[in-house]
């Protein structure tokens, strides 16, 4: 006896009595298969008249045995089913056993197919982004000419979340970047007796490149992902459908406030990051290089012109538009459940950072030719 069932084999009859439940099924199947393998039989009767209780896994084990015996051309009959046992047997879907293996449908694509699929996916992605931008281009002027249609409360809330709440992390990271740049460059410049150039090096790098780019990357990680997750979850919960049926335009209702808020706060955050980056360099200059406060600031601003600050703010505005639009677009692309929201969030951050760097490269070339 094993578990709660008893097996007896006599005169080509397999008798099973007691209870056969899911926990006993693996050992029961092994025992029966061993028992039958030792006999040379062409027919088998399974007597279940003494089987008091069976669950669906137990019933399936008899159906499975029946199928296996038929494959070996053994004539098999199951007898003595009580009314309760028969009801459980009727629950077992016999057709399911004959279906193809579970993962046969998942055929591996060849490398060419995979590349083709990737190209199609990218083309489709480009098309949906264009459509989204097109809708935005229609919605933004509408909102500007109809300011009452804007949800100002939502704009302020998004400004707080994207801007004010990001002040500590943007400040800290910018300070550290300024500090690291000043320290690393001083190690080289000190050998040439050119310590004083640390100030302008840090100033130019922070104002022209690192300030706008680091701020944009932080905002993409914090807020771009949050936009995608928020809108994606709303799609999953049918909240966007509800808005549409109530007559609201989803882009105008959900996206425009985020775009306006991000466009206002990212340039401001960039100015704030520039200030902290320069302070980071100043700390190294004053403590490590014995440069006075006035000398450091004078040297910093000697290398930086007002035009540099203006172009950086234009870049920051462009990055803000990219972050908010990509975040919201990825959110609207969500179909399915929680996993799709996670994918949209990751995709929003990755795409935003890629586009920020690509746009920065384009600005570098463009500004070089403008002079």
């Amino acid at each position: 006896m094993s578990g709660r069932y008893v097996i007896a084999f006599r005169m080509r009859t397999l008798s099973v009595s007691g209870e056969l439940l899911i926990a006993d099924v693996p050992s029961f199947m092994r025992e029966v298969e061993d028992l039958i393998a030792r006999q040379n039989i062409t027919s088998l009767r399974i007597d279940l008249s003494e089987l008091r209780r069976v669950d669906s896994a137990g019933a399936l084990s008899f159906v499975h045995l029946e199928e296996e015996m038929r494959k070996k051309s053994v004539d098999i009959t199951i007898t003595g089913l009580s009314e309760d046992v028969r009801r459980v047997f009727n629950l077992v879907d016999r057709t399911a056993i004959h279906l193809p293996p579970l993962h046969e449908a998942e055929r591996r694509a060849s490398i060419f197919e995979a590349m083709g699929n990737l190209c199609l996916k990218m083309a489709h992605d480009f098309y949906t982004i264009l459509t989204f931008v097109g809708e935005l281009i229609i919605c933004l002027p509408y909102c500007l000419f109809h300011p009452r249609s804007l949800r100002w409360g939502d704009i302020l809330l998004n400004m707080r979340r994207t801007g004010a709440d990001a002040l500590p992390i943007v400040g800290l990271l910018s300070l550290l970047i300024g500090l690291i740049m000043a320290f690393m460059s001083s190690l080289q410049l000190r050998q040439l007796g050119a310590n004083i150039y640390v100030a302008s090096l840090v100033g130019i790098a922070i104002v022209k490149e690192l300030g706008p780019m680091m701020t944009a990357i932080i905002v993409a990680g914090r807020s771009g992902s949050a936009f995608a997750a928020e809108i994606g979850t709303m799609i999953v919960n049918e909240e966007v459908d509800a808005l549409t049926t109530m007559g609201f335009h989803p882009i105008r209702f959900l996206v425009v406030p985020k775009i306006i808020a991000t466009s206002i706060v990212v340039p401001l955050l960039t100015l704030y990051a520039m200030m902290f980056g320069i302070i980071g360099g100043l700390l190294v200059g004053m403590i490590g290089l014995d440069i006075t406060l006035t000398t450091y600031l004078r040297e910093s601003f000697r290398g930086v012109e007002l035009w540099d600050v203006i172009t950086s703010l234009i870049k920051a505005l462009t990055f803000a538009l990219l972050i908010a639009s990509i975040g919201c677009h990825r959110g609207f692309q969500v179909t399915g459940g929680a996993e799709a929201v996670g994918e949209a969030t990751t995709s929003a951050v990755v795409t935003s950072i890629f586009l920020i760097i690509a746009a920065d490269a384009a600005f570098a070339v463009l500004l070089h030719y403008i002079g």
């Binding site: 926990a23 099924v25 896994a57 459980v88 879907d93 799709a340």
Partner: protein
């Protein structure tokens, strides 16, 4: 008949907001027990106590001999393996196919030989009329199909106790009746004890052996008995109003 679930003087509260006060009842083994009541009366909260998602701070909840208030996490987990739960929205894991969802508890149950394991998954899907949907993800299914798939997963281990949270809510009448039949076959054939939280009067009258009616103002049970007793002999107007709604 032996009581498989015993609730004694259970008081449930979220902070200062008391949901249930001094609730006591017993569920007999192999019987279908229904918990009914209006919205906000604490049905789902009570279910959370029964399945061990909430621990009683006041009173006792004993499921299959385990006191959910004092048992350690390991004991409660061992107890949970004896029961299956069908959540209102199905509770399927979105990143897994239906086959993978059903395989999840089965892998914990024991080492089944390979083709039999696949057959077992298929048989569970077949029981709820989802044959052929093995490789589908929950997001690709309708609400009713999700609920049936959730039931297939709840049935994966052929549990001794099954808990249902609104098993027929949102289902069409034909699918709902299929669920009634399935519940009946599982209860009678496999002797499974069932606790069903529901508003569905047809389900109550067809299947339930015993019913308790919760009321939000009383914060507890205002009636208990068989569905017929509550329909025919209840003196309380609130009970009559609930049980004498016209059946479809």
């Amino acid at each position: 008949m032996e009581n498989v679930i015993v609730v004694e003087n259970l008081t449930a509260a979220y902070g200062d907001n008391v949901i249930l006060r001094n609730v006591s009842f017993q569920v007999k083994r192999e019987k279908i027990f229904a918990i009914v009541g209006g919205s906000g009366c604490g049905k789902s909260t009570l279910l959370k106590y029964l399945i061990g998602l909430l621990r009683p701070a006041e009173g006792r909840v004993i499921v299959d001999g385990i006191d959910m208030a004092t048992a350690d996490d390991e004991t409660i987990n061992a107890c949970r393996r004896k029961f299956g739960v069908l959540f209102q929205s199905g509770g399927l894991i979105g990143s897994m196919t239906l086959a993978e969802n059903i395989a999840l508890p089965l892998k914990e149950a024991g080492r089944f030989p390979h083709p039999f394991f696949t057959h077992l998954i298929r048989a569970k899907l077949g029981m709820v009329n989802l044959t052929g949907y093995d490789n589908h993800y929950p997001a690709e299914l309708s609400g009713g199909m999700k609920k049936r798939a959730g039931l297939a997963r709840a049935l994966a281990l052929d549990p001794a106790i099954l808990f249902f949270d609104e098993p027929t809510a949102g289902l069409d009448p034909v699918t709902a009746r299929e669920i009634y039949d399935l519940i009946s076959i599982i209860n009678e054939g496999m002797k499974t004890t069932m606790v069903i939280v529901t508003h569905d009067l047809e389900l109550i009258f067809r299947l339930a052996h015993e019913v308790i009616l919760l009321h939000s103002e009383e914060k507890g049970i205002i009636a208990r008995g068989t569905p017929k007793e509550l329909e025919s002999f209840a003196q309380d107007g609130r009970v009559q109003a609930f049980f004498q709604r016209k059946l479809p």
